[in-house]
């Protein structure tokens, strides 16, 4: 399967992990508003692309992977950090889509109703993010089986 969703993963999120994400996300939104209020929309707008949940999610990804390996009797420290790097790589692709989302708002908001711009920008973000991820998978990702076959044929 190319992309999968595991609903049971929600049960694995601990209460303090929910609280960290909620409080940090809420706090960044308040800061973005206050900066815009005091220093204007040019500076305030930068904070709309602040990496709000990125540090927390990368460290939680690392911790979950480490726990997963520990349950199997292995030291998952290195594996956890590798998975965090893969997660960060996904975020790098997501940043291009984030810029696309902002561009839709910048171009269309003064001309069109926000009721049209919000879903349109979200759709552009999702399409660009998934599209770039699939392109990367298609052109730059070397399947494990292919690399193993290459190794065997040597």
């Amino acid at each position: 399967m190319l992309i999968g969703a595991r609903f049971s993963a929600i049960k694995g999120i601990k209460p303090h992990e929910w609280i960290i994400r909620f409080v940090f996300g809420g706090a960044v939104c308040v800061v973005a508003g206050l900066v815009a209020q005091h220093y204007g929309p040019v500076l305030g707008g930068l904070f709309l692309a602040f990496p709000a949940i990125f540090p927390a999610s990368a460290s939680l990804v690392e911790a979950h992977e480490k726990q997963h390996k520990a349950r199997a009797g292995f030291d998952g420290t290195n594996r956890g950090r590798t998975v965090a790097a893969i997660d960060a790589y996904g975020a790098t692709i997501g940043c291009i889509a984030l810029a696309g989302f902002a561009a839709v708002f910048w171009i269309w908001l003064p001309r069109t109703s926000p009721w049209i711009v919000f879903p349109l920008a979200t759709l552009v973000w999702l399409t660009v993010a998934v599209g770039l991820w699939l392109l990367r998978k298609r052109f730059f990702h070397k399947p494990r089986s292919a690399s193993m076959q290459k190794g065997r044929s040597r």
């Binding site: 305030g44 893969i86 973000w125």
Partner: protein, 116 residues
């Protein structure tokens, strides 16, 4: 209760909810490179742009969105550096993400100096 405090409280609760929603999506999806896309989701923008439009109008929000493009480029630099550091040196993820955060501030501030 003052208008500013009410707006800040609304931002906090709407922001916290939307950020948590994207965090859940990031937790659910596999593979991890796909789930990582949600780490750069427009969660703060979705939470605050509606309130900004309501209080300051569409043109003001469009100026914020223009700056957001620059913020996203800064995020791209920061996320690329974090990926490289985690892949190459394997430090704890929290150490890498927090120690490289000045990249986002530096690139954003440089852009702000250019466009202000």
């Amino acid at each position: 209760m003052s208008h500013e405090l009410t707006e800040s409280l609304a931002r906090f609760f709407i922001g916290g909810t939307i950020v948590s929603f994207f965090a859940v999506l990031a937790e659910m999806f596999r593979p991890k490179s796909f789930a990582g896309l949600f780490g750069a989701a427009p969660s703060i923008a979705l939470a605050t742009l509606g309130l900004t439009i309501a209080s300051h109008g569409s043109n003001y929000a469009a100026i914020e969105a223009r700056s957001m493009i620059l913020g996203a480029i800064a995020f791209l630099c920061y996320a690329s550096a974090t990926t490289w550091m985690l892949w190459r040196y394997k430090p704890p993820a929290l150490t890498a993400t927090l120690s490289l955060m000045p990249i986002w501030f530096g690139v954003s501030f440089a852009f702000w100096l250019v466009v202000r």
